[in-house]
């Protein structure tokens, strides 16, 4: 807190001064962020309510266990840790940009804004990979009618229920159509074109034998609300990251053009920084609610 003496009897609320000793723009940024915190809070609490209300919510360690270029290796928590550290690091570079702004060091602001923008873009890239991985995933799950299907994770489909027992699995296989059995058999050997043709020509019993002896993880379906909440909340957060990157690019260009130097202060960098740190702050809670617990 400031150590400067304030004359006694200063009329803080009579206009012309900021009773909070910050500019109007910064106060309004704070109030915008507070309202945004309520929006995110409402989403997350709604998610928590629905999650608490069902018995079979998806286990995040099963849903989020992949890593780019790692194939089918089971790596829970790994990719999301990378995303978290990217965002923490870009928060640090942002606060360093603000610091350089206080020192009126134009080159320093430019350098750290670039690093922050790269961090934001890297995070968005990670999120794009994760969404693609879920939306195009192939998981064998048993529908309500007792047949098996190959499902991705979308706002309408959630294959992440409890594992089927061997008995449930055999029962479900006997009810499943030829078309679906072929689709399931095809998930066993990815990319092998010949195998695809081969599967279609097998009889149901041959397919069932092939599937039953494989190491396939068939599950019950889970509550469909999972996809809506996951894509809704991480999407809303990702949109904040995206707009934050755009704002940071604008700030970088304005720094480069010398606008803030002419103005005599880098307060706009501070305001963009508040928004950027807020994005990191929200991620801390999204990380907690969707991935950790």
């Amino acid at each position: 807190m400031g150590s400067t003496a304030i004359p006694t009897g200063t009329k803080w609320w009579s206009g012309g001064k900021s009773p909070f000793n910050v500019s109007y723009g910064k106060v309004m940024m704070w109030y915008f962020l507070m309202s945004d915190a309520f929006t995110f809070g409402a989403f997350l609490i709604s998610y928590g309510t629905i999650r608490f209300s069902v018995n079979n919510w998806a286990d995040p360690n099963h849903v989020f266990n992949s890593f780019p270029f790692a194939g089918h290796a089971n790596l829970p928590l790994a990719f999301v840790s990378l995303m978290t550290f990217i965002l923490i690091f870009s928060s640090v570079t942002m606060v360093l940009a603000v610091h350089e702004g206080h020192q009126m060091n134009k080159k320093g602001v430019e350098k750290f804004m670039i690093l922050t923008i790269i961090g934001g873009a890297a995070f968005l890239g990670c999120q794009a990979w994760e969404w693609t991985h879920l939306l195009t995933g192939e998981h064998v799950a048993m529908l309500g009618d007792g047949t098996l299907s190959v499902l991705p994770t979308t706002v309408k489909m959630n294959p992440w229920g409890e594992a089927l027992t061997q008995k449930e699995m055999m029962n479900a296989l006997s009810k499943t159509s030829h078309e679906q059995l072929v689709a399931i058999a095809n998930t066993l050997h990815h990319g092998a074109e010949n195998a695809h043709h081969a599967a279609a020509s097998l009889t149901n019993q041959e397919l069932i034998n092939q599937i039953a002896t494989s190491e396939i993880h068939a599950t019950h379906t889970g509550p469909i609300a999972f996809g809506g909440y996951f894509f809704g909340i991480t999407g809303f957060h990702g949109f904040h990251v995206f707009s934050g990157v755009i704002i940071n690019i604008v700030m970088y260009i304005k720094t480069k053009l010398g606008h803030f130097e002419q103005r005599g202060h880098y307060e706009m960098i501070e305001k963009a920084g508040l928004y950027w740190h807020f994005v990191d702050l929200v991620w801390v809670f999204v990380f907690l609610c969707f991935y950790l617990v």
Binding site: F20, T49, S53
Partner: protein, 141 residues
């Protein structure tokens, strides 16, 4: 601080910005350490899945939640410099957020009671819309 010249008459006095970047890096390491502890606890829950009592799982999750709040405190207080602002501003931001305490208790308790109703009375409270429908799967192909 002398380097910066605010033209803004709203500002009565300037916070001291002459400090170095030491504190920023210190907070970076604190945030990293807290995250690593959280990940460790998360991995503990994963590795011991099914072997832990409900109370252990719940208390581990509560500890992770508290560590998250600590991270939030450091981000807001240091990175967003709210800790350097005057008390009145801090209060207008923090006090409304206290509503979340009640929101969380009320809504999660509501969800939990909903689950209890589902699991009793012959599971009469299940709704078809909460499961993946055959139509959704068919239309996806």
């Amino acid at each position: 601080m002398a380097a910066q010249h605010f033209e803004n008459p709203e500002i009565t006095f300037h916070p001291d910005h002459s400090g170095g970047t030491k504190k920023i890096w210190k907070i970076f390491w604190v945030l990293s350490a807290l995250t690593i502890i959280e990940l460790g606890l998360g991995y503990f829950l994963y590795a011991k899945h099914g072997q832990l009592g409900d109370a252990t799982v719940l208390s581990t999750k509560i500890v992770i939640g508290i560590l998250t709040l600590a991270k939030a405190y450091y981000i807001v207080s240091v990175f967003m410099h709210l800790g350097d602002e005057i008390r009145n501003l801090i209060m207008t931001i923090i006090v409304p957020l206290v509503l979340f305490v009640w929101f969380i208790i009320a809504f999660l308790a509501d969800g939990n009671s909903w689950k209890n109703l589902r699991n009793t009375r012959g599971k009469s409270r299940t709704y078809q819309t909460e499961e993946v429908s055959k139509e959704a799967v068919e239309s996806h192909k």
